[in-house]
């Protein structure tokens, strides 16, 4: 085992980790920063984000509106102090990215343009065509090369956090290129490892999105919060799950069932808006949870379209025309053509809901600090309290940079004020953990591919768009069984370098731990809120019992302990969450909310 020392270790080289690294390096150039990534940073899954990043700039828009949209979008499970901080700082981070060279799409006069997005009351989503995540990631990665104090450990798989004297002491990693464990001793560690979408069989996520950082923090005794809230993106490609951005609907795309009917009007999102006149928070621009749930109902009614790749509805973009599509949605045109043989200018794209995003994660406060001194978490791996029970599209890319900067600055301050020295105990513990994990190479009998596939299926079945106690119990039992089998998991490959068989098994271990936290958090929540919807007598939101964050605590044996913590409510008391005409009526001043007045307005503006 090699040992390196650093002031700050950052695990994950996606948008959040890179922004944190740049912030830490800028805050204090004397600090040594090690950026650990299991892939080269520009491969991180931020790269696949398409639609955009929210930040209030438009005339008529305000941070109060962004706040209100986010809090109601999250079904009042958002920590409002965090939301307030976020909306106040989002636009300045977008401008910061602009200064670093991000090629934001612009208007003819040279100013940055914004587009409509689901659940947002105003156009406020900054975009770089439909490759926003790609440009954001490459801009941040290339900008990070300016900073000599950022050292990178590329293709180093993080294995476990090392804790000593009740504070974080470093991260144990494995150098895939050279084939040995590397301990990074650091008094401040930032987790920025992204989500865990690969736990589900059909998902929009890349192979690397396996919940590693969540699992490491969880096993180190930090709570995973709100893990029952998993977002299904309403428009993935059936079969592959490849993401078709919400930007399609922001630009005016419509969803049709097998009869060519815009069915969202039947699910509290109407009245129908005219084709070519998308309207914020109506119809296709409703929030993701509601759209995915509407699909589920349509499927039950037999109104979806049967395709060789699975049931789907049609995303119709034809009225936008080929030229506009190629300007605003070039990647979507490319993906539809390559993976389906469909030209969106002449044919609708078949789409269906696909597991996409984990609202929950490592519990942090507004400073990105976790309960473990020295450990920070940011991005999808964290539960900052921003997204509540349902994230609004384009809030997460913005979160990466807003809170990424905070994480870097906080870790820098902590590392400066509370430095740590080398520790024999830390090195011994890391050595033992490394030896234990490396010894898995060439052992075991249970095929990891089967465990992974069975995990995906049971998560889709039991903790999908709609849930029942019975279904969740079956999934909990299945996950427990898979964990038992995992104790004898097979690693055929014995090669020390680029042992991706072994790395996949380490990742599978993380997926199983995170899955267990998800299903048990879901079982405990006896209500329906945001993306957690139950069919078994708990079909309504229950603020008396569950206006609370769930917290899952790891136990070596058996299911996690679940407890609850209060939600930070500052200015927005829980109210009915409504979209379309009902939403307009709920938020309009009393005189304008008269029946009959709101519906036509909703249909025509």
């Amino acid at each position: 085992m090699q040992t390196l020392r650093a002031d700050i270790a950052i695990v994950g080289g996606g948008g959040a980790g890179l922004r944190a690294a740049i912030a830490a390096a800028s805050a204090n150039p004397e600090l040594s920063i090690v950026l650990i990534s299991k892939v080269y940073p520009m491969r991180s899954h931020t790269v696949a984000a398409e639609g955009g990043a929210a930040g209030v700039v438009g005339e008529g828009d305000s941070i109060d509106k962004h706040f209100a949209d986010t809090v109601s979008g999250g079904d009042w499970l958002c920590d409002q102090d965090v939301v307030q901080f976020f909306v106040e700082h989002a636009a300045e981070e977008m401008y910061q990215l602009e200064r670093w060279g991000c090629p934001w799409s612009r208007k003819g006069d040279g100013n940055v343009d914004v587009r409509r997005f689901g659940g947002m009351s105003e156009p406020r989503t900054w975009f770089a065509a439909d490759k926003t995540g790609f440009h954001l990631l490459h801009t941040l990665f290339q900008t990070s090369l300016k900073h000599a104090s950022i050292a990178r450990l590329d293709e180093h798989l993080a294995l476990e956090l090392v804790v000593h004297d009740d504070r974080v002491a470093g991260v144990l990693t494995y150098n895939q290129r050279d084939g040995y464990p590397v301990l990074v001793e650091a008094g401040a560690v930032i987790m920025a490892t992204g989500g865990a979408g690969r736990i589900y069989a059909q998902n929009t996520n890349g192979a690397i999105v396996t919940g590693d950082g969540m699992a490491m923090a969880y096993r180190a005794g930090v709570a995973l919060r709100d893990m029952e809230f998993v977002q299904y993106h309403p428009t993935g490609l059936p079969g592959s799950g490849i993401l078709i951005t919400e930007g399609c609907r922001g630009e005016g795309g419509v969803l049709l069932n097998k009869d060519g009917h815009r069915y969202l009007a039947d699910y509290g999102l109407g009245p129908e808006t005219p084709i070519g006149e998308p309207k914020n928070k109506y119809m296709e621009l409703g929030p993701r949870d509601r759209l995915s749930q509407a699909f589920w109902h349509e499927q039950r009614k037999g109104s979806t379209i049967s395709t060789p790749r699975g049931d789907a509805v049609h995303l119709d973009l034809r009225h936008l025309g080929a030229a506009y599509l190629h300007e605003r949605l070039p990647l979507i045109c490319e993906l539809a053509e390559k993976y389906l043989g469909v030209d969106p200018a002449t044919e609708p794209i078949p789409v269906c809901p696909t597991a996409h995003y984990t609202m929950g994660g490592i519990e942090t406060d507004v400073t990105t600090a976790t309960g473990l001194p020295g450990l920070y978490a940011v991005g999808e791996c964290a539960s900052s309290g921003l997204h509540g029970a349902n994230r609004l599209g384009s809030n997460s890319l913005a979160e990466l940079v807003v809170l990424g900067k905070v994480a870097g600055e906080q870790a820098a301050a902590f590392a400066w004020s509370e430095p740590t020295g080398p520790s024999v105990a830390v090195r011994t513990a890391a050595q033992d953990t490394g030896a234990r994990l490396v010894s898995m190479m060439g052992r075991g009998t249970e095929k990891p591919a089967l465990i992974r596939a069975e995990l995906g299926r049971t998560m889709d079945d039991g903790v999908g768009i709609f849930r029942t106690a019975e279904g969740m119990a079956a999934t909990a039992a299945k996950v427990a069984e898979l964990k038992e089998r995992y104790a004898d998991v097979q690693v055929v490959d014995t090669c020390p370098v680029y042992n991706t068989d072994w790395a996949g098994v380490v990742e599978l271990g993380a997926m199983l731990d995170v899955a267990q936290a998800m299903v048990h958090s879901a079982i405990g929540r006896e209500e329906s809120r945001g993306s957690h919807q139950r069919l078994d007598g708990f079909t309504e939101r229950d603020d008396d019992r569950f206006l609370a964050h769930s917290r899952a605590w790891f136990r070596t044996e058996g299911a996690p302990t679940i407890s609850y913590a209060p939600v930070a409510i500052t200015t927005s008391q829980p109210a009915r969450r409504a979209y379309g005409a009902a939403g307009a009526a709920a938020t309009a001043p009393p005189s304008a909310a008269a029946p009959g007045a709101s519906a036509p307005e909703g249909a025509s503006r």
Binding site: V39, Y40, M42, R43, S44, H45, V47, A48, E92, Y95, R99, W100, G101, P103, R106, G108, D109, G110, N111, K131, F134, H135, Q142, T143, L145, K146, D154, R177, G179, A201, Q202, G206, A207, I208, G239, S240, G241, I242, P308, R309, G310, L331, E334, L335, K338, Y339, P448, A449, A453, G456, Q490, V492, D493, C495, P496, V497, Y498, N499, T500, D501
Partner: protein, 273 residues
């Protein structure tokens, strides 16, 4: 296991195999000839053959993940996004550099299909090549906006559509490095910066927000920099994202020649344009 197709992405749910792989009709079986190399045991690479069932949507990457899950977990390759944006899964397919995730087995049927690591790179293991030389070349061209520190307040830079157009296509590079495999000069001139790194430099040079051309010039304007390029244009043919590195290199050559001519008139080429 032999009757499922290798379509890892698209599942019809009708097979009893490893769950998320499987899909509609198996249309055939293709023989993949995959180059193997294990550095701690092998003295030289060898080719191993696998028969892979495939369906309409089976990508070459799906075929490889099927082999890894069903036949041989030791087969080693990089992949992630499966939608041609992360740049991880470049391979030589029948001798041509391609992204495995956006190439379909049906187009190579009945086979055999030869899968090798990207050319012009040293091989670390199986299909995994050494990216470090590229990473240092990328860093060398200073691929970031060089500008005076401007306070964040205010509306940001303006950029007209024409100014955007000047660099926009060059910002589309996903660093998949297919262009390095296609380029004959990368194979000959060991120190050549190569298409993607030069393109990154030109991308910033042509961005109206940047004032770093002066800093990048010494790196570009050297034998190993730009001038190793003989304008074969294979890089632009290979690029899966339409970036046209060959055009970027030509523009950089023209700019470097102009800067060289400017030396005779001005004491030094200024950073301010």
């Amino acid at each position: 296991m032999s009757e499922e197709c290798a379509d890892s992405a698209n599942c019809c749910g009708s097979c009893d195999g490893a769950g998320d792989r499987g899909s509609g009709a198996v249309l055939g079986t293709i023989r993949l000839q995959v180059q193997r190399y294990r550095p701690d045991l092998d003295t030289a690479p060898s080719v191993q053959e696998y028969d892979v069932p495939w369906g309409q949507d089976t990508s070459v990457l799906d075929a490889l993940t099927w082999i890894k899950d069903e036949l041989d977990p030791s087969l080693t390759f990089r992949w992630s996004c499966r939608m041609a944006i992360c740049g991880s899964c470049g391979f030589m397919l029948n001798g041509v550099p391609k992204l495995g995730c956006e190439q379909f087995v049906r187009d190579y049927a009945p086979g055999p299909l030869l899968v090798e690591p990207l050319e012009n790179f040293s091989v670390e293991r199986d299909l995994v090549v050494d990216l470090e030389p590229f990473m240092s070349r990328l860093a060398a061209v200073k691929p970031f906006v060089v500008a005076d520190d401007v306070p964040l307040a205010g509306p940001g830079n303006l950029q007209t559509p024409e100014q955007m157009l000047a660099f926009h296509d060059y910002a589309m590079c996903i660093n998949c490095l297919l262009c390095y495999s296609a380029c004959p000069q990368v194979g000959i001139a060991a120190d050549f910066l190569g298409p993607a790194a030069v393109t990154a430099a030109v991308r910033y040079n042509r961005d109206s927000r940047d004032h770093g051309e002066d800093l990048r010039l010494p790196v570009l304007d050297s034998e190993a920099g730009l001038w190793a390029c003989t304008f074969v244009g294979a890089c632009s043919t290979a690029c899966p994202k339409g970036v046209d590195p060959a055009a970027a290199i030509q523009q950089a050559k023209a700019a470097a020649a102009k800067a060289w001519a400017g030396e005779f008139v001005l004491p030094r080429h200024g950073a301010v344009r």
